[in-house]
């Protein structure tokens, strides 16, 4: 049998202890071991950004990491933003500006945007486009996503 590794990880504020094979990807661990299927996998080679989550507040591609590399760290996934009844301002903005169609790329975009707006609360359109350039979306042509980010920034500045 393959060896396993005892992993301690905090996801969306909950601490988990799990034993995993060292080769388990962080994306698979979140989705299949913890059942947090909001994080999506579009390419598994680090380009599309659908699998983006925050590790200690910074965006990372969970398909390019092994779960064991997140040992001792704090992860935030899309499930850690708002709830259906109480959406996070970024989520609200995406609904209002129609920043999603199929919604497959959306979780990775929301986490990326969260970290981005924390660093840059008042971004220009140029800066938003730059910040999103590592997240592919096949449905929207990005325009409504960009408008959603502008709206979210406005909401969060209050």
């Amino acid at each position: 049998m393959p060896t396993t590794f005892d992993l301690t990880i905090t996801v969306n504020g909950t601490r988990y202890e799990r034993s995993v094979e060292p080769r388990t990807l962080l994306s698979d661990f979140l989705r299949h071991n913890l059942g947090l299927t909001g994080t999506h996998v579009g390419c598994e080679h680090g380009v599309c950004g659908a699998c983006s989550v925050l590790m200690d507040g910074q965006p990372v591609r969970s398909c390019l990491m092994f779960a064991v590399q997140a040992h001792g760290h704090e992860i935030t996934t899309v499930e850690g933003l708002g709830t259906r009844d109480e959406l996070h301002p970024i989520q609200q903005a995406f609904q209002e500006a129609h920043g999603l169609q199929c919604g497959f790329c959306t979780p990775g975009i929301l986490t990326t945007v969260k970290a981005f707006l924390e660093q840059n609360p008042n971004p220009s359109e140029e800066e938003i486009r730059e910040a999103l350039s590592g997240n592919l979306c096949r449905c929207t042509g990005y325009q409504h996503i960009i408008e959603a980010v502008e709206l979210a920034a406005e909401k969060m500045r209050g």
Binding site: H40, Q91, L100, Q101, C102, E130, C139, G141
Partner: protein, 785 residues
């Protein structure tokens, strides 16, 4: 008609689920005891399969089963034809050769599935795939469409005489006569290559056979759950009622997810039944490049006959269409090309023959646009070539030939992809073109800005391209609308949904009729246990065809509501109004009853009802158009090219469109933006590079470039509305429109940017490298002249 909800920018009902990560996609399905599948795929594009040895893989710890074609025994047979050839056309040739569950004897494209490993985890299944040993005898590969038809070409299907899969010609008027009258004949060869649909979600399927209830449940990333249910039942010898297919949230479709049956759709349910355990297969991105259908390979030889004053007298277009290794999708794509070859122009004489060619590539089936971008590329490139030849302004030439508003319905006298007569139902084409010209400021750009920019050393060009999109084709869709005891409304329909906002646009249609909140209308799509009549989401038909069925069902429920309320409230139906989830007497607001209470009264638990009474406030309706509704639009753009690096910057992008009644402008604009982004990919970024052995050289998102946020321009959209007379909503489809004119537009703007360099673009997709080469060729040609 005064509409309260239709046409409003209503935010989407489905978003909270998607935004919080709670929406279920196929890969999110998790069942106890579930196994995972991985496929062994051919390394060769064309080979004899001499031996497949799976003995080592079967021994691998954690592997439950390995299946090859042999192991499937009598259950091994090809998939059904999805679309048969048109019965009404004379002399049509069609050789139906369909994909098989697992390859036997022969490999016909790289990535064709040979064996499947089913194991306790995907990781183990992939490990064991590596342990399968295959002996191949490589064969010469068929890739080039013209060579494929040469008598000495190797054959993709050995039992056929050649690689000709189909041939069909259509004629309108008399092209030869038009040619004799013409002052000018313009001839060109136009080449269009393949791209990938590249939905962000790859394909996937989960199958669960419950031996106790003898019931099979399948979750599938399909655009057509009902045909998958019926076909699976037939394959496995089950009743259709023993099979339930669920297409949950789908991460983008764009065409390839309407293809059926993929080999995996034949293998996974069969394996789950054999093993009596749930089996999941999720495609990875590399597999998606090799095993999911693609589109757009065609070569056209075109001729246009014109009079000196710029009337197009006739058009002739003979073309080759690449169907790949099999042709389950029949003639849909090339028929669409033929239907769009004349664009929105009044062309009286037309002749077109296409030949469909088998090659050693993955099957071609519709991808957003589905043959339409080719047709538009061809006619619009010819218009530009003709304008140069005649020394006429290209826009003026187009305007002279547009179908005038009083000519509708305009009969083209050929058949479309649905084998229905190609009739353009309605439109005001010139108004749409003018709108685009006005917004982009065509005159001013040509007269003032372009010369000024050129003096500054900038290469900036303008393009304006009108186009039609046939949409909303048959056969039919259905819907059931039910008012529940809670007063909320449930709607079920058979089509699948992949992000088009049907949960909201259909809810708007129902809310409009029943006077409830849009958020109180729950839409269920894509679950055959909820609704089992219908075909699927394709040809930009969801809003038109299913939307019209929803509309009809909602109207019929409204009648039932009024009838019952009239009795209860003792008031004539004409005096009743439906508002805020209740029925009330117009001038006496306190005399009212809620829809929920009415629903309870309509479904009593005791007592007698009148004979012939149907219970509940529920109705099921169907809608099937005689022929499709045709949308029209015009795109315009201003494009700057860096003459050193050939990198481009789009300065303006304008879309003027007329897709009939707009259900929800927010959703509509989103569809257009997305279409344009795919079109830009088809124009300048997305090319599948295949080597001489049929191997794809760029099967990853690192190498196959999708348009990202930094390349996309901001798009300005203007709506004009000419309602379709074909359905009560007046709707025409729009799902594919955004993508259709973009390559033609891009080519025109490039030529315009280099107006003094005799650049001519007769191929798609381009790339910075290719543009550089074309400019160099243009320069050399000029020197040699």
């Amino acid at each position: 008609m005064d509409r309260k909800l239709i046409g409003k920018r209503v935010v989407r009902n489905e978003d909270p689920r998607l935004l919080t990560g709670h929406a279920q996609f196929v890969d999110d399905v998790h069942l106890p005891g579930m196994l995972h599948a991985a496929f062994l795929r051919s390394e060769y594009a064309h080979a004899r399969l001499l031996k497949v040895d799976v003995s080592k893989a079967r021994q691998h710890p954690g592997v439950v089963a390995v299946f090859t074609a042999e192991d499937m025994g009598k259950d091994w047979f090809p998939g059904p034809p999805l679309v048969s050839p048109p019965p009404t056309v004379k002399d049509v040739v069609f050789h139906s050769r369909r994909q098989v569950p697992l390859a036997k004897d022969k490999i016909r494209h790289a990535g064709e599935a040979i064996a499947v490993v089913i194991a306790e985890s995907r990781y183990i299944a992939e490990d064991a795939v590596e342990e399968i040993e295959v002996e191949y005898e490589p064969l010469p590969v068929v890739l080039d469409l013209e060579q494929a038809l040469q008598p000495d070409s190797p054959l993709v299907h050995d039992d056929l005489e050649s690689n000709l899969a189909a041939r069909l010609s259509q004629k309108k008027g008399d092209y030869e006569a038009a040619r004799r009258q013409a002052d000018v004949i313009v001839k060109r060869r136009i080449v269009i290559e393949r791209g990938a649909a590249a939905a962000m979600e790859n394909r996937g399927i989960v199958a669960h056979w419950d031996a106790q209830s003898e019931h099979l449940t399948i979750w599938d990333t399909t655009q057509a759950p009902i045909p998958i249910r019926n076909g699976t039942a037939a394959r496995l010898g089950l009743s259709e009622h023993q099979v339930r297919v669920i297409a949950p949230f789908i991460g983008g479709g764009f065409g390839p997810k309407i293809m059926m049956f993929y080999p995996e759709e034949m293998v996974i349910p069969w394996a789950a039944k054999q093993l009596n355990r749930p089996v999941k297969w999720i495609e990875d991105r590399r597999e998606n490049f090799y095993a999911t259908t693609q589109e757009r390979g065609q070569i056209h030889d075109v001729e246009m006959a014109l009079s000196r004053d710029g009337r197009v007298l006739g058009l002739k277009d003979d073309f080759l269409h690449d169907t790949g290794a099999y042709d389950p999708y029949g003639l849909t794509i090339p028929l669409n090309t033929q239907s769009h070859n004349m664009g929105g122009y009044d062309i009286r004489n037309y002749s077109s023959e296409f030949k469909v060619v088998f090659t050693n590539r993955i099957i071609a089936t519709p991808v957003r646009g589905a043959g339409r971008p080719h047709g538009i590329f061809v006619i619009e490139r010819m218009m530009d070539a003709a304008a140069r030849e005649l020394g006429m302004d290209p826009i003026e030439l187009r305007k002279r030939n547009l179908i005038p508003p009083d000519a509708f319905p305009y009969e083209h006298q050929i058949i479309d992809q649905a084998f229905a007569p190609l009739i353009l139902d309605s439109g005001n084409y010139k108004a749409v073109v003018d709108k685009a010209l006005e917004i982009i400021g065509y005159e001013k750009f040509i007269k003032e800005e372009q010369p000024r920019l050129r003096r500054e050393g900038k290469y900036v060009g303008i393009g304006v391209v009108p186009f039609i999109e046939t949409t909303g084709v048959g056969p039919y869709e259905g819907a059931r609308v039910t008012v529940e005891a809670s007063g909320k409304v449930n709607v079920t329909t058979g089509i699948g949904t992949q992000g088009q906002g049907h949960f909201t646009s259909f809810a708007q249609i129902v809310a409009e009729q029943l006077g409830v909140k849009v958020s109180d209308v729950r839409i269920v799509t894509g679950d055959t246990s909820e609704f089992h009549w219908g075909t699927g989401t394709f040809a930009s038909r969801g809003a038109v065809v299913a939307g019209s069925a929803v509309h009809a069902a909602a109207k019929s429920v409204r009648q039932k509501v009024l009838k019952l309320a009239s009795k209860v409230l003792e008031a004539p139906e004409e005096e009743l109004e439906l508002e805020d989830g209740a029925v009330r007497v117009a001038d006496i607001p306190q005399k009212s009853i809620s829809l929920g209470e009415l629903a309870v009264l309509a479904n009593p638990l005791r007592g007698a009802v009148e004979p012939g009474t149907e219970p509940g406030l529920e109705s099921t309706s169907y809608y099937g158009p005689q022929y499709g509704a045709t949308a029209f639009g015009t795109h315009a753009m201003i494009l700057e090219v860096d003459p050193q690096t050939m990198m481009i910057k789009i300065r303006r992008y304008v879309v003027a469109e007329d897709c009939g009644t707009v259900l929800n402008p927010l959703i509509l604009e989103g569809q257009i933006h997305g279409g344009v982004s795919m079109g830009l990919g088809n124009a300048y970024y997305e090319k599948l590079h295949v080597d001489e052995n049929g191997q794809l050289l760029n099967a990853s998102f690192a190498d196959y470039l999708l348009v990202s946020s930094t390349e996309m321009p901001r798009i300005e959209v203007a709506h004009l509305e000419t309602p379709s007379p074909l359905n009560e909503l007046g709707a025409k489809g729009v799902g594919e429109a955004g993508a259709i004119p973009v390559p033609a537009l891009f080519a025109q703007a490039l030529e315009n940017a280099f107006y003094d360099r005799k650049l001519e673009v007769l191929e798609m997709p381009l790339s910075p490298n290719r543009l550089f080469e074309l400019l160099r060729e243009a320069q050399e040609n000029e020197k040699s002249v």
